[in-house]
Amino acid sequence: MVSQSTIKKLVEKKASNLPERLREELFEKLIHYSGKYKLKKAEIEAIIDEVVQEYEQALVEPGEAVGTVTAQSIGEPSTQMTLNTFHYAGVAEINVTLGLPRIIEIVDARKNPSTPIMTVYLDEEHRYSSEKAREVAKRIEGTTLESLARSMTLDILNMEFVVDIDPERLEKSGLTMEKIQAKIERSFKSAEIETEGTTIIIRLKKAKNVSTLRRLADKVKKHRLKGLSGVGKTVIRKEGDEYAIYTEGSNFKQVLKVPGVDPRRTKTNNIHEIAQVLGIEAARNAIIEEIVNTMQEQGLEVDVRHIMLVADMMTLDGIVRPIGRHGIVGTKASVLARAAFEITVQHLLQAAERGELDPLNGVVENVLIGQPVPVGTGIVRLAMKLPIKKAVKEE
């Protein structure tokens, strides 16, 4: 049996070029297994050697064209997704953009994804009962008069807007008629509100024409009575032994403050929101996770390191930038590289105006002018020692 401190020393000595995290993991596993199988010192040494060798095998050599490989590795599976373009699959009753459209959305860093969704996890207190989960969902779910109404009519004769509230939905939403009346009264000073049982009648204070009434009605219909802006329907789903809330629409900043929500696990699929609320590193992780999930959904597997490279490129400036003309390619240092991509003339003219210099450091510009590209063997610079030491006499 080898003591812990010897293992520690061995790991420190033999695996010194491994990253901290890996070394720790190796150490922990070694302790676990040396206890289990009574490993000898030589065996432990052999294991460490093996690990170090595997690690070095997994490293990318300097000069490797990782970007090209990434493009191919993501591009090829993407061609298999194109057939499923605009395919929607329901998570419960919520629509989610999947497949190629979603990948494009992520890579283009769209400000508003077409189907924003939040996955809200709950704190210890609300996690385990569907009742309590519903309670939290009520706080989040955006409720408008429209969503509560059984019928809405614009009575032109009496210049009234009559809304018949569905009592069942009212009950579910946790609102009361009085509360609704107060809410609307506070937000619409020009309106006169009257409630009768489950009916709400809205009139203009000063009788005007029908179009004014119609405009008011439209506004009142859409007025948020409760919940977070941007959030629509919520669905409660059981995940393992706890309940989680899925929302249509996303308002990440606000949802984290809602009592009952576990802010540490709650997430959204809107990457810009994550960048804003949690910071750029979180956004990077979100990009990776979203792409991996979308790929997995389609039954495709891409090595995470390719996706990590994409996410790194998108976030390395501290803001989320799209890949393409307006993002990464557009901010390349080399004029020729930019001109080779899109809007050639404009870039060349602009560069000429500014007197830009191109040091020809990148790949694209060297391809363009017909030089070896600084990648792979092209990046190696040779030097020869002269004179050669006495040559071995032959003949």
């Binding site: 610079r381 020692k385 071995v392």
Partner: protein
């Protein structure tokens, strides 16, 4: 430990093979009938090629 990447290895052997092909003396005994490339590979493995790489600092 200093190790050449596979790109560096290719470039060094390539450059050396070219020299040998153009008539440079071989620095070590090579097997009969070896091509310049074979000779360069043998030299590289022995570590006697007088060429190294400049790595960006």
């Amino acid at each position: 430990m200093f190790r050449y990447t596979r790109f560096e290895k290719a470039r060094i052997i390539g450059a050396r093979a070219l020299q040998i092909a153009m008539g440079a003396p071989v620095l070590i005994n090579v097997p009969e009938g070896a091509s310049p490339l074979d000779a360069a590979i043998v030299e590289f493995e022995k570590g006697i090629i007088p060429i190294t790489v400049i790595r960006p600092s």
